[in-house]
Symmetry: C2
Amino acid sequence: MSSTLFEMAESPDKGTTNGEAENGQEQALPSPPWQRVPGRSSRRRRDPLTREAIVATALRVLDRDGLDGFSMRRVAEELDTGAASLYWHVGSKDGLLDLVLEEVIGEQVDEVPDPDPERWQEQFKQVARVMRQTIQRHRDIVEISIGRVPMGPNALGLTERVLAILRAGGVPDELAVQSYLLMFSVVNGFTMDEGGYEAEVATGAPPLEESAEMVGGYLASLPADQFSNLTEVADHFANPDQDARFELLLDLFVEGLARRSEAS
Amino acid sequence: MSSTLFEMAESPDKGTTNGEAENGQEQALPSPPWQRVPGRSSRRRRDPLTREAIVATALRVLDRDGLDGFSMRRVAEELDTGAASLYWHVGSKDGLLDLVLEEVIGEQVDEVPDPDPERWQEQFKQVARVMRQTIQRHRDIVEISIGRVPMGPNALGLTERVLAILRAGGVPDELAVQSYLLMFSVVNGFTMDEGGYEAEVATGAPPLEESAEMVGGYLASLPADQFSNLTEVADHFANPDQDARFELLLDLFVEGLARRSEAS
DNA sequence: GTTTGAACTCGAACAGCGTTCTAGCACGAA
DNA sequence: TTCGTGCTAGAACGCTGTTCGAGTTCAAAC
C-alpha cells in the first residue's frame, strides 16, 4: 500500500482472461484496450523492485504482524506487487529471512564503541545491552536466528568490533572468542524467554505485570506438601525484574571472565 | 494461547453443539454397503486414540522430520487416522506442541538429583547438563519453547526440585529464583546456537567439523586491514569445542553465584 | 533500424497446510 | 428399543511457499 497513492486508474478485480479463439492470424496486432488486462497496463513497474526495498519491507511486516503473520504474499502486497516477483530477488522465503537477519545485525554494528582498554568490561556489557535492545525492537528475530549462521558483512563487522574490545582489554585470544560466542548465545536465550509472559491475542494482553502476578498467585496456591520450595518463593516469581536479572547475568559473566583473563 | 495449566479432567473444549435433527425419520437407516466410505468399513477404531499416544507420536515425528516437516496430517498418518481426529483430543496444533513440550520437560525431572547441601554447585551444573542433553535429543524443542510458559505438572516438578538444590545449598531465595530462571534461559540459548553449524539438507551434511573448519578458513581469508582481529583469531573459530565452552559457561555462572551466595 | 537476448514482472496454478463442519458409528443408560 | 454422548474422519475452506511461463522493457549488436 501507500507509496502509490493514486497512480492512474487501477480497477482491482475482473478476471477477463482474454479468451480469444483459435481463429486466423491477427495476433500480431496490439489488442484493443477493452480486452487488455485491466489492472496493470504495463508489465514494467514505475519504480523497480530492489533487494533492499524488499528486505526493508519484510522487516516492517515482521515487526508488525509477527512471524506467524509474515508471508511472501503479505510482503508483496505491501510493495504493491505479486508474490512471484519477490522470488527473482531473494530466491526463497528462507533467503529473505537471512537477509532480514543481516539487516538487524547491521543495526547494532555502529553502536559498538571503539575499544578503550581501561573500560573493556563495561564496554562488553554495553554491547550485550545493545543486543538485548535490538532483539526487543524486533520481536521475532530470535526465532529467525535459530539455525542460521550469519556470515554477511554486518555480522563479520560486529564480530570484529567486539573482538577488538576484548583483545584491547587483554583477554587472551581463545577466551575472547569463547566469550564472544557465549555472550551471543546467552543474550539470545535471555531475551527469548523474556517475552514469554506476554499473551498472544485478545484478553487485552495482560501487560506483563498482571500476568506475572497471576503466575505468582497460582504458584502460591499449589499444595505446599508437594511443592514446598515453590510455594515459599512464589512471590519472587511474581516480581520478575528483568532488567535486574539481565544485569546480574552480565555481572556474573564479565566478572568471571575478568578473573580468568588476569590469571593468564 | 498456550497456557496448558493443570487441565484436570478430559475433553479440552469444543461446544459440540450438535444441531438437532429437524427432518423426518429416515436417518436411522444404515446406508447400503455400496455407498459407504470405501477405505474404512467401521467408523470406530480398533484401538482408540488417546492424548498420550498423540503426544508420543508427535514427538517422534518432530524428532524425525523436524519442525518444518511436522504437520497434523503427518502425525495423523502415523497413527493411521485423519488429521481431523486429532482435534478432538488436543484442540489445535499449538496445543499439541504445548503438550509435547511438557512431555520433554518430563524427561528431565527424574534426572534431577536429591539435594546434597555440600555439593550444590556440582548438582546445579549437573542439572544444566541434563537440560542440554535433553535439548540435543530433541532438535527443535528450543524453537517450540519460544513464547511458551510451561506450567504443567512436569514443569512445576522440575522447578521444585531444582529450587530444592539451590536452597539446600544456602542460596538466598530471590537469588535462587533468579539463577534458576537465568540458567534455563542460558542453557536454551547455548544449545540453540550449538546446532547452528549443521547443514540442513543435501551436500552430505558436513559433519560439523568440516563445516567449522571451512568457516575458520573463510575468516582467515578476509582482508586483514579491515578485519585484523577476526583474521588473527580465525583458528579459534575453527575449533569450537562446544563441551568446553559449555563448561566454561557453567563455571562462570556457578562461581559467581556461589560468591554472591556467601556474601549474604 | 532491426534483431536479439538478458533483466525483470507477475497471473495462474500446484501441493500442502491448519482448521472447521458435519455425517456417521459405537456403546452405555433409560 | 431409543436415546444421547463420546469419538472418528471425509470433505472442504482459505491460506501458504514456490514454480512456470508468457509477457514486457531496455541496451547492445548487427
